[in-house]
Symmetry: C2
Subunit: 410 residues, 2 copies
Amino acid sequence: MRDFQLELMRYAEIIVKIGLNIQKGQTLVVFAPVSAVAIVRLIVKTAYESGAYDIYVDWNDDEIVRLKYELASEDSLKDYPMFKLKGIEELIDSNGALLFIRAPDPELFSGIDPKRIIIGNKTVSVALSEFQQNIMTKKLSWSLVAVPSKAWAAKVFPDLEESEGVGRLWEAIFKATRADLLNPIQEWEKHNNNLKYRVNYLNSKKYRCLSYYAPGTKLSIELPENHIWHGGEKINNRGASFYANIPTEEVFTAPLKNGVNGIVSSTKPLSNRGILIENFTLTFKNGKIIDFTAEVGYDALKRIIETDEGSCYIGEVALVPHNSPISESNLIYYHTLFDENASCHLAIGNAYPFCIEGGVDLDREHLAQQGINTSNIHVDFMIGSGELDIYGESSDGTKEQIICNGKWMF
Amino acid sequence: MRDFQLELMRYAEIIVKIGLNIQKGQTLVVFAPVSAVAIVRLIVKTAYESGAYDIYVDWNDDEIVRLKYELASEDSLKDYPMFKLKGIEELIDSNGALLFIRAPDPELFSGIDPKRIIIGNKTVSVALSEFQQNIMTKKLSWSLVAVPSKAWAAKVFPDLEESEGVGRLWEAIFKATRADLLNPIQEWEKHNNNLKYRVNYLNSKKYRCLSYYAPGTKLSIELPENHIWHGGEKINNRGASFYANIPTEEVFTAPLKNGVNGIVSSTKPLSNRGILIENFTLTFKNGKIIDFTAEVGYDALKRIIETDEGSCYIGEVALVPHNSPISESNLIYYHTLFDENASCHLAIGNAYPFCIEGGVDLDREHLAQQGINTSNIHVDFMIGSGELDIYGESSDGTKEQIICNGKWMF
């Protein structure tokens, strides 16, 4: 018999002690949906007990976001309340930590005029671009986690009644985040060591190019000469470790912006800002997306790709074994945080500067010179399956298989 | 059979159209407890439909506030997140509106070390002093309203089960705010006219002094020569009307700071920042509180009076008939917003500058010269009952009774 309260407390502990790794005297800002009040209280208590100096919770409510998209004037959608970022600026200067809690509704914006969504998305991404850069250069610790919403549970478990679906989704989240295990802190250390092993292996190989083969996919991705693979915990600018995502099963790096060629097919639905995109393909030539198809959500995919100059290139190459714990749940989560950790994936848009040597000290222009893409967006999409093979090609031309039928070969 | 959803919608409409009187193009900031999400969504919808440009909800959670008082360091209690005020500064410059929604817990802070409460209260009142001044000089429209919390309902209806108590408290709030009536907007106009009649009568009389007589009370309060009585709707600096409190039954002015003498006894419990104070007396000499007693919460009362230089003087004199709708409910609400509108009351601390002619243009020093008290706090306490008599004395020495056995004489 699983004990919900116990696993909820363990989840809060994983978030505070592993995800954020709260240091004595740190200020924590939590972005959370009002529906998550129970676990937010647990997180706040655990964080104060771990030595947090002060904690602000910046609550949000999806229905109120939707009301704005439905009812506010177009001018209002172009306006971002810049004062909301003041607190985060102070955090960066003072060694703070950020926690993002999501209770996603995969179809929040269905029925909203797409033109209004474009305007709103652009406003947000422009307003947050400096903030995004601070995040990507790890000027502070942050973690992204998720909790069930009723709408999300109904999407993942369409045949179950509401409360049962929510309960099952909690169980799936606890399992995916190791909150169901007896000593989650130790389990996370073990898991981190395993990811480090993959990262070190790939970094020692310095592959020049990766080749992907699967039904509907034949893709070649060149890697920058000085690329770095990452996975598991991150280290911020002040030397403290944290996990940007809970759960995390991926190892990833940045592709060479102009070195992507071929076609790739999605293997899971993509929910982007409340719109679903399903069964889509992207065709690349010299890095650029020159063609795309989608059985569902074509317009939404088009909007993503057309966001800005960098949004028709990719910025992330991530490897995840098809037998990861999340993958083995056999669920489609309709949420990137879980689906990306069950599947090899790529991301449209911005690359993480820390994926090349010295990258965090470069501005956009110098990153571009090194073949690193920049954009105001970063949208992961899933391409992994039990039929995916990936080969790594070294600079001397030798090829070896690193993923076979979706699983690690080393 | 009363219809909860209908009355809830009427309440939202009263708040938006009467309380805030939202103007086309205005930005609204709502401060609300996460537990009030249902009515906040209704308010947001109604406000957008009434022409609001943008709406931000700044949510809060009492349990997280309490966790800070329990667990954060003392230094942290001395720190106010000033970035939280940035948005309000912009609002003042741009003709915004503020809505404060409370779901009070009358005993939120019971058991917390009082020293920590003093520190926290001082931090808040110093940080908000400029904001308070902007509010008091009506540089923007604002409204304060309340919704039930479980803890509040349990205090008002200690013998009822939780859900029944919450339901009864909603009913009482709908009744007190006229949301139970068929045409609440018209009813508020009628009510406002009635309050205006009292205000005009009192302003025409220009009383020099009020004398209070009741069991345990024998008090004389001088009024400034150029005092102004207020009641019902307010007009902000840009000429738009609003109601600072929903409900509101009071007419009020400022006392002469040094002109209060005698003793006054409380007639209702006072819940101040989560601590209850009951059955207390204050003794005044030349305006100053020179002695006080309290059967419950003596220390909390002492802390209020000792907050700053102005907190041992009074700043408000308010008249409410003992047969007001709220008073006739015969409930003790343990919350100022309702109890003060069921009872004649006074306030310890700051006076409203608009209660004397030209007062909004005066700084603290010049207000003091006119005999107007200033303080970082403003704490109302109830002294009305069915046994209270009040006499007004004109400058020519003539006396007339204005309140007899708690009821208006004119």
